[in-house]
């Protein structure tokens, strides 16, 4: 182990701000990216499921739906 104390480790020879700034941002973005991808995937899957459900039910109902909107 190279470090004498945890304080030294954090200080990074007076360059702590730069080193930890780099590491933090890098880690943050590398966590954020897969999270965003996962979230995008989840919303897409939900949207598609909804769409499929609507379509399978719609074939029979589409006429009347259009008609209903005309009336109100």
């Amino acid at each position: 182990m190279h470090w004498n104390s945890f304080g030294d480790f954090l200080a990074m020879g007076n360059h702590g701000l730069y080193v930890w700034g780099s590491l933090l941002v890098m880690a943050l973005l590398m966590v954020a990216e897969p999270t965003l991808v996962l979230r995008g995937r989840r919303t897409l899957v939900e949207r598609l499921r909804r769409q499929y459900r609507a379509e399978s039910g719609e074939a029979s109902r589409s006429r009347s739906a259009a008609g209903r909107r005309r009336n109100d």
């Binding site: 182990m1 190279h2 470090w3 480790f9 200080a11 990074m12 020879g13 007076n14 360059h15 730069y18 080193v19 700034g21 780099s22 590491l23 941002v25 890098m26 973005l29 590398m30 990216e33 897969p34 991808v37 996962l38 995008g40 995937r41 897409l44 899957v45 598609l48 499921r49 769409q51 499929y52």
Partner: protein
């Protein structure tokens, strides 16, 4: 036709690639975590202080992998794009689109870590040096690629247009890589190369390589995740997606 080629085409169809990718993703995550922990502990806990730069040099374990990956991902992206253009394989266009954001991320990280390194070492966040500038251009190329694809609604057209741009932009990669050689600049030259023996301490080298491997595995994992999403989106009218999403609740 050889057996290998047939297999290749089989996996090039989204339908069979989708589950395969799903199975591979956890493995790449595991590898990324493994290499990452190893690389970072070597880099931040074990590696000795640099004689000239003090402890600030430890940014190298972040900066260099990010820089390498930003260039490498562009090459891979261009390769997929070219393949798609030449053979009209649906998968390759999707792969190219999936890689672009990750590449842009690494280009940004290279700039960010570089800037944070530059302030203590050079006394400036930014200098208009050839390497820095060309890395900035690389970021612009990624953004241009993403913007171009986003501006075209028809995915097939978007793939083709993006592919042409990616292939034309490849010329920038050698410029970035060799910029330090061609212009004398502030930025460090390559200290790892295939021809020369590495000019840095073995410990540092190992840390850097492990971190780079971690980033590499990370890129593959994220790209695979993203390509699966893109596949669902683009193939939403095919039966296999419909079956997939309506069956597994």
């Amino acid at each position: 036709m050889s057996n290998g080629l047939i297999n290749w085409f089989k996996y090039a169809s989204p339908q069979s690639f989708y589950p395969l990718a799903g199975k591979l993703i956890p493995w790449f995550w595991a590898l990324a975590a493994l290499f990452g922990v190893a690389g970072l502990s070597i880099g931040f806990l074990l590696a000795p202080t640099d004689a000239q730069q003090g402890e600030g040099y430890r940014i190298i374990f972040l900066h260099v992998p990010a820089s390498w990956l930003s260039m490498f991902i562009y090459l891979v992206m261009a390769f997929w794009a070219g393949l798609g253009l030449a053979f009209n394989i649906r998968l390759s266009g999707m792969m190219a689109s999936a890689l672009a954001p990750t590449g842009a991320l690494f280009a940004f990280l290279s700039l960010w870590t570089g800037a944070l390194w530059g302030k203590p070492m050079w006394g400036a966040w930014w200098v208009w040096d050839a390497r820095l500038t060309s890395e900035l251009i690389l970021l612009f190329l990624y953004i241009g690629f993403i913007a171009l694809q986003a501006a075209i609604d028809d995915p097939r057209r978007a793939d083709k247009a993006g592919a042409i741009l990616a292939l034309v932009g490849v010329v920038n990669i050698p410029i970035i890589y060799f910029s330090v050689k061609w212009w004398n600049t502030l930025h460090q030259g390559a200290s790892v190369s295939l021809t020369k023996a590495p000019s840095m301490a073995a410990m540092m080298l190992w840390g850097m390589l492990l971190c780079a491997l971690a980033c590499w595995m990370y890129s593959i994992a994220v790209a695979l995740m993203r390509v699966r999403t893109i596949m669902l989106e683009r193939e939403r009218h095919t039966d296999w997606v419909r079956a997939l999403l309506t069956n597994q609740e």
